[in-house]
């Protein structure tokens, strides 16, 4: 493995790890705030139990998210010093504000986790809300930093110099809105489905049914609404990619030859030598329609992009297909949930219905990883689209593969530890929170 590939892989694995914790860090506080609110309003102890059980789990995720985020802020410099040297002053604004948001989040978290029975209950509730709000704000900010890499603005690039820097303009670059919107919705759908899935499993196993039903409902309402909105926001993202990163869009679609009535490719596998997509279904005109709102206008294909500016096509395309497949499925499941709630209440307790959600547990997070692969791999060979190549940014230090192996090992250990701890927490639910459920209590 050469140093360049090792650096990219280390970055990818670090981000791929962190994103799971950041989604949970953004969304779980919102779920807890809802449950906490219900407890304060109704006084039903099960809501307090749900809130506390969640907050114990979330503390583990927060710590892991915080350390993996700390790793990332250093890795940007450790792996890509040349990039940070030039980009830091331009796209640093969201990072500085993100620092503020994290700080507020960390303070609010201290109050929330350690403040049970110590503060006015509404103040305590409010600190929980603040954790969620600042988490979401920091997510939006960091994604807007990333979107700058996709659509750089707020500076002029003249003779290799970066001049007339305007950090505010860089922050509100052309892609910030579509990316932040899509990411925020993704965090809600992924976390919502994952949490709902775990609680559905417990309901299906008839364990602490009341507890898990309440938890399931809160999570799935957010998850389902987000899953229904997701494809619409994805459409905005795709239009934006077409405008600013035609190479990325063409690779996503595995679309080789520019033509009117540009087709949308579903499935299949790109054959880069033959310059065509194999085994896929082509729907003529649909790509033109999705990008330009008319069926005729040709969309730029890979044949108009120099080979040395094309991203890896297969990876980008397959990742995109995975995201779309999962996105469509999650939308359907989301719609089914609302049909059940409004028309077919009997479904809600049926086994097949629960199984649907159990099966969907990992979907959102798989789509999140796939979506980021599209965004990041699809930007290659650029680290700053059209301005700086990733290969120019990498650290001169040799031996990066060892650091890649080391971090891979660290993330592996942490993942195992987190899964282990989470399963222990779920196992302990009966012991810790069962008191108020006479039917299942073992006293």
């Amino acid at each position: 493995m050469n140093d360049f590939i090792a650096a990219r892989s280390q970055m990818a694995i670090s981000l791929g790890f962190h994103i799971i914790y950041s989604c949970i860090g953004m969304v779980m506080p919102v779920f807890m705030a809802v449950s906490h609110y219900k407890w304060i309003k109704t006084g039903e102890p099960v809501y307090k139990n749900v809130t506390q059980a969640w907050s114990k789990g979330v503390a583990i995720f927060f710590a892991t998210g915080a350390v993996s985020g700390t790793i990332l802020s250093f890795e940007l410099g450790l792996l890509w010093p040349k990039f940070m040297e030039h980009a830091g002053p331009i796209f640093g604004m969201p990072f500085s504000l993100e620092g503020v948001a994290f700080f507020i989040e960390a303070i609010a978290l201290g109050f929330f986790l350690y403040g049970w029975n110590k503060f006015n209950k509404w103040f305590h509730w409010f600190t929980g809300v603040l954790v969620g709000v600042s988490g979401i704000a920091s997510g939006i900010l960091v994604v807007s930093a990333n979107s700058w890499m996709n659509s750089p603005s707020g500076f002029e690039y003249v003779n290799g110099q970066y001049i007339n820097i305007d950090p505010i303009k860089a922050m509100f670059n052309g892609s910030w809105f579509s990316e932040s919107l899509h990411m925020t919705i993704a965090a809600f759908s992924a976390t919502g489905f994952a949490v709902a899935g775990i609680h559905a499993l417990m309901i299906a196993r008839k364990k602490n049914v009341l507890f898990h039903t309440k938890a399931f409902r809160i999570a799935i309402v957010f998850g389902a609404i987000a899953a229904i909105l997701q494809p619409f926001s994805g459409d905005i993202s795709a239009k934006n990619a077409a405008k600013r990163q035609p190479a990325k869009l063409a690779a996503m679609e595995s679309y080789f030859h520019t033509q009117p009535y540009s087709p949308l490719t579903v499935g299949g596998f790109p054959d880069t030598a033959a310059k065509k997509n194999k085994y896929g279904l082509e729907i003529p005109g649909l790509l033109s329609f999705l990008v330009y709102d008319n069926f005729q206008q040709p969309v730029k294909a890979l044949d108009q992009i120099p080979t040395n500016e094309q991203p890896p096509i297969a990876v980008t395309h397959i990742a995109f297909e995975i995201m779309i497949a999962i996105g469509s499925t999650m939308m359907l499941v989301g719609i089914l949930y609302f049909i059940a709630v409004w028309k077919k209440r009997s479904w809600l307790t049926k086994n097949w219905f629960l199984k649907l959600f159990i099966l969907s547990t990992p979907f959102g997070f798989i789509a999140v990883e796939a979506g980021w692969t599209v965004t990041e791999v699809g930007r290659q060979p650029w680290i700053i689209q059209g301005i700086m190549r990733t290969s120019e940014a990498v650290t001169p230090m040799p031996g990066i593969q060892y650091s890649f192996y080391l971090f891979t090992l660290v993330y592996l250990i942490l993942s195992i530890a987190v899964i282990f701890l989470l399963s222990r927490q779920i196992k302990m639910v009966p012991e810790l929170y069962d008191v108020k459920e006479p039917k299942l209590s073992h006293h």
Binding site: K56, A59, I60, F62, A63, T64, A66, V67, S68, G69, T70, I71, S73, F74, L76, G77, L78, P81, M84, E85, H86, G88, P89, G92, M93, F95, S96, L97, E98, G99, V100, F102, F103, I104, A106, I107, A108, G110, F111, Y114, G115, K118, F119, I165, D166, P167, I168, T395, M397, P398, G399, L406, V410, A417, L421, R424, Q425, K427, M428, L432
Partner: protein, 336 residues
């Protein structure tokens, strides 16, 4: 604005040193506590740092962000030549943060798993400040060689030298000292308080010894720190102030003034950082062959510095009061 940004950078570093340091120190104290008292120490430090540790570590992030936004060349130079110690420090932060959270939030308090968490926690509490100190020492050690041709010269000897390691050890001792002082005030009975008093004194003696070692190492490496520090009035005053407050602290410790000595200890460490900081200000990195990276010569363009300064300024109005309230709230000790 550059002065505002520089002031925030210094503030973030000092606060990280004090708060994060005390935090690491709690682990160091635990490492050097006898088996029979370990449990009690753990409990006290959990109550003391549980609610605030995440916030304490945010100062590091703030410092890093100020560096890469405001002083990108300085940051990229450090990241390149001090890659390895930074990597080890990151592994330390990771191990420590997760072990701390895991040992408190593991739903099953199994003896075996707790033992693993505790081990990881105490060793990483030692390693992390050691390497933080090494990084800080290397920045001013003149061992970073931009023209190095071999791997060892470029990436190893930049930080693997007597001076950097002495600074690392000094940092560890100061962290332990800060933690012991902090824990005296948190102890819920006299016996524990006395234990922490002894720890504070021992750590203090070790810190003074390692501090001396730093000077010796600086002579070996031709850095001549003594000459620098005693040669400029601000640093000299700061060192004298630190020494005076050191003596005062011992007296106050013996009198059992638990909370005031915290201010004293914080003051001492701040003075040490001030002495060193002022000594080579405005240079943040001193490079082999005499070239130095000055904060002013290598600052980001003015618009960036302005926006960053405003961001920090406004942000601090949000952060500082709430942070203060957090510390204040968890000082009231009815906590179970």
């Amino acid at each position: 604005m550059i002065f505002v940004v520089t002031a925030f950078l210094f503030l973030a570093i000092v606060l990280y040193f004090l708060l994060g340091g005390a935090d690491f120190g709690a682990g160091i104290i635990e490492l050097f506590t006898s088996e029979k008292n370990k449990h009690k120490t753990r409990q006290t430090s959990y109550q003391a740092i549980g609610p605030i540790w995440e916030a304490n570590h945010m100062w590091l992030i703030i410092a890093v962000v100020i560096m890469f936004v405001g002083f990108p060349v300085v940051y990229s130079t450090m990241c390149t030549y001090l890659h390895i110690p930074m990597l080890i420090m990151l592994l330390g932060i990771t191990a420590r943060g997760t072990a701390f959270a895991f040992r408190n939030y593991d739903a099953v308090k199994g003896a075996h798993t707790q033992k693993i968490y505790n081990r990881v926690f105490v060793y990483s509490s030692f390693i992390t400040p050691l390497f933080l100190g090494i990084i800080a020492g290397s920045a001013i050690s003149r061992q970073i060689d931009l023209h190095a041709t071999s791997f060892m010269d470029a990436y190893i000897f930049s930080w693997f030298n007597y001076f950097s390691i002495a600074v690392g050890l000094f940092t560890v001792a100061l962290s332990g000292y800060l933690a012991a002082i902090y824990l005296i005030g948190e102890a819920d009975n006299d016996h524990d308080a006395r234990r922490f008093i002894v720890k504070a004194k021992v750590m203090n003696i070790i810190a003074v010894a390692f501090g001396g070692l730093v000077f010796v190492a600086s002579e070996i490496e031709n850095i001549h720190m003594a000459h620098w520090i005693f040669g400029n009035p601000v640093s000299l005053t700061a060192v004298i102030a630190a020494s005076v407050s050191l003596i005062a602290s011992w007296i106050l410790i013996n009198k059992g003034k638990r909370k005031i000595i915290r201010i004293g200890a914080g003051f001492q460490v701040t003075m040490i950082l001030l002495a060193v900081g002022y000594m080579h200000y405005p240079y943040l990195i001193m490079i082999k062959g005499g070239q130095n990276l000055s904060l002013f010569a290598y600052q980001a363009p003015e618009t960036t510095i302005n926006d960053l300064g405003w961001g920090l300024f406004i942000g601090s109005f949000l952060i500082l009061p709430s942070l203060f309230y957090l510390y204040y709230s968890f000082q009231k000790k009815e906590i179970v």
